[in-house]
């Protein structure tokens, strides 16, 4: 789960990582007040959870409170990559001497935590990795042991020479690691970590991604901004389904993530375009099927619907009863193709025999039929 910059900044501040003074708001007038209080030039930043907001015009510098008001109005009326800007961050602007990078991630390949530093901060770190890999410094952390001092020393040696700055950076990195562990992060990043013209160290941007599997912790779950999410994906997740919208017109409802991906792949392979990924999960109740249908029907591109169910733990009769309730409770303007195999399939077939659904004996047959009906 991504969270906003201002939320990550608040967490950093709680842990004692220094950041420029400022506040978050959602009106130009408040922006003006904050700028007035700061009494210096400010930087105004759109709070959207997408990369490249600077290039899109979502970050601007204002020299006076009046300018802050004017620029905030502009930014608050923007959409960045399709996402309307609801909030802005107004923070003190500094003359920058150096921009560095510090980030901590989970590394799938080594099954360890990896901490990275670079003297090239303020730009997308993936770009630095590709173009100047020699400017990336990495340390592998054994999660059972944690971050050791020598690792920090090695990471910052190529970045800082001033002994006072080094002392401060060591503390910042230790605190960032603490945030990473205690907040169950999959990413914690300061980019850039700035040295100002006066020699101060400041975290001028804050980025935290939280492990989705840790959201049972209420204090983490409450950081979620439902507005930053696709409304259909949100509705699906709340019902215990997993949904990703795509551009095609053949909708599918499948049990299991692997089979759901394969169903999409098959739709493409046979010349169709999938409208979505939708996994109803293992123990699928009729209610889940109804919710799945509702979500699918809000997508106006959909022309046909394919059920592809391989019943193991999922019982085909549960799916069938969900389909029947859905058909009775809502208008379904699209043809439906049903492939139900496995646990209680005979019972399901019996239940569905009086409906006008299209039945398929295999996944391939079902996929081909659904594509044909979408044409």
């Amino acid at each position: 789960m991504k969270i906003h910059e201002y939320q990550a900044r608040e967490i950093f501040t709680q842990y004692g990582i220094p950041a420029p003074g400022g506040a978050v708001c959602n009106t130009p007038l408040e922006a003006k007040e904050i700028a007035d209080k700061i009494g210096k030039p400010v930087v105004i930043k759109a709070q959207v959870q997408v990369g490249g907001r600077g290039k899109a015009g979502g970050i601007k510098i204002a020299r006076t409170p009046d300018e802050a008001e004017k620029l905030s109005k502009e930014i608050l009326s923007m959409e960045i990559k399709g996402i309307p800007v609801e909030k802005i961050m107004v923070a003190e602007y500094f003359d920058i001497k150096e921009e560095h990078y510090v980030g901590i991630v989970v590394d799938r390949a080594s099954k360890r935590i990896v901490i990275m530093t670079s003297p090239v901060g303020g730009i997308d770190i993936e770009q630095v990795v590709k173009q100047t890999p020699e400017k990336i410094h990495k340390a592998n952390i054994d999660p059972l042991i944690g971050l050791e001092n020598y690792q920090i020393q090695r990471l910052i040696a190529p970045l800082f020479t001033d002994p006072e700055l080094r002392k401060e950076v060591i503390l910042i990195i230790k605190k960032l690691y603490q945030v990473f562990i205690e907040m169950n992060c999959s990413l914690a990043e300061i980019n850039p970590l700035v040295v100002t013209s006066k020699g101060e160290l400041l975290a001028c941007d804050a980025k935290i991604n939280i492990d989705d599997n840790s959201l049972f912790r209420e204090e983490l779950a409450k950081l979620r901004d439902p507005k930053a999410e696709d409304p259909l994906e949100l509705a699906a997740r709340e019902a215990g389904l997993s949904y990703v919208g795509l551009d095609g017109n053949v909708a599918c409802i499948v049990n299991g993530a692997g089979l759901a991906m394969t169903t999409m792949d098959m739709i493409k392979l046979y010349g169709g375009e999938p409208a979505n990924f939708l996994d109803v999960g293992g123990s699928s109740s009729p209610e889940k099927v109804i919710t799945a249908m509702k979500i699918i029907l809000t997508n106006k591109r959909v022309k046909s619907i394919l059920f592809n169910i391989f019943g193991g733990i999922t019982r085909c009769d549960d799916i069938a009863s969900g389909i029947i309730s859905a058909l009775n409770s809502m208008e379904v303007p699209h043809p439906i193709v049903v492939r139900l195999t496995g646990t209680n399939q005979e019972k399901a077939q019996e239940m569905l025999k009086d409906t006008n659904l299209n039945f398929a004996a295999s996944m391939t047959q079902g996929v081909k039929k659904a594509i044909e009906l979408a044409r």
Partner: protein, 288 residues
């Protein structure tokens, strides 16, 4: 023979008194699995489907000789259950539980290195050696004993492939799902050497999906070390980047983990990649 699960497998069910634990204990027993013990702290002395329940893993192992554990406990308690099983000397842990925090799994993975315990999962359907025993939640009836090993990151997709194999007359030596999470215990390169060494396995079907680089590592391993034929399938060719496709680990991020990269790695290792699960039985027959 087979891998991981055989006639000597004696299973202890962690979380046996829970809804899922009790339900699947029954199905495992019906399949012929030797379920010798269950553990739920505080419920020692009870019986579930005639299987004795103990308070701790130490007790269960000492009194019943259990050597394999299968975990159905909720995510919050699953890591404690894994540590307990490791410390009690269990040789194979199969963790069905979904939703375990990544930082907890990082610790488990690194803790396991100093032990001789193997971990399959979490977030997986388990391991089955057809006709002998099943340790997990897969439907037993789709499997048939035979010479093909199946290893997969998925659940229902594996069932689909296994039923195609069975219908095509290709039985299986052992089938297992290694889990859909970002950090899992055994990965493809830990399983492939076991199939290579197993006398009864003549060929392997590997079912991968988008996310991570485990398939690329598997392709390298096959090229360098395997004599037995392998057929691969990769789910997620149509998946968009940056979106999690159901499984926590199924995500293309920063350009890595794409289906194209995995398919091309297998092709370079002379491993045929099926375009659809339907093609798998024929590709296997051509080679075994």
């Amino acid at each position: 023979m087979s891998i991981l699960v055989d006639k000597g497998t004696r299973v202890c069910v962690q979380g046996i008194t829970g809804r899922d634990g009790a339900f699947h204990t029954n199905l495992m027993l019906e399949y012929g699995t030797k379920v010798v013990a269950g553990v739920t702290p505080g419920k020692g002395g009870q019986k579930v489907h005639k299987v004795p329940v103990f308070n701790t893993m130490y007790e269960a192992v000492n009194k019943t000789g259990a050597n394999t554990s299968v975990i159905y406990v909720p995510a919050k308690f699953a890591t404690d259950a894994m540590y307990e099983a490791i410390d009690a000397g269990i040789k194979l842990i199969v963790c069905i539980t979904e939703g375990i925090p990544v930082n907890e799994m990082l610790k488990i993975y690194n803790y396991l290195k100093g032990t001789d315990t193997r971990l399959v999962g979490p977030n997986c359907p388990g391991v089955i050696t057809p006709g002998i025993a099943k340790v997990g939640i897969m439907p037993g009836w789709i499997h048939k004993s035979g010479p093909i090993g199946v290893v997969s990151r998925s659940g229902t997709l594996t069932y689909e492939v296994v039923s195609q194999l069975t219908e095509g007359g290709l039985g299986q030596s052992t089938c297992l799902g290694i889990g859909g999470d970002t950090i899992i215990g055994m990965s493809f390169i830990d399983i492939l050497p076991l199939f290579e060494a197993d006398k009864d396995t003549e060929g392997v079907v590997l079912i991968g999906e988008i996310g991570g680089t485990d398939e690329e590592l598997a392709a390298d391993y096959i090229k360098e070390h395997m004599k037995k034929p392998v057929v691969a399938f990769i789910a997620g060719r149509a998946a968009p980047p940056g979106k999690r496709m159901g499984h926590a680990g199924a995500i293309i991020s920063g350009g890595t983990g794409t289906a194209e990269a995995k398919i091309s790695a297998f092709q370079k290792a002379d491993v045929p990649v099926a375009q659809s699960p339907l093609e798998i039985p024929d590709l296997v027959k051509e080679r075994v």
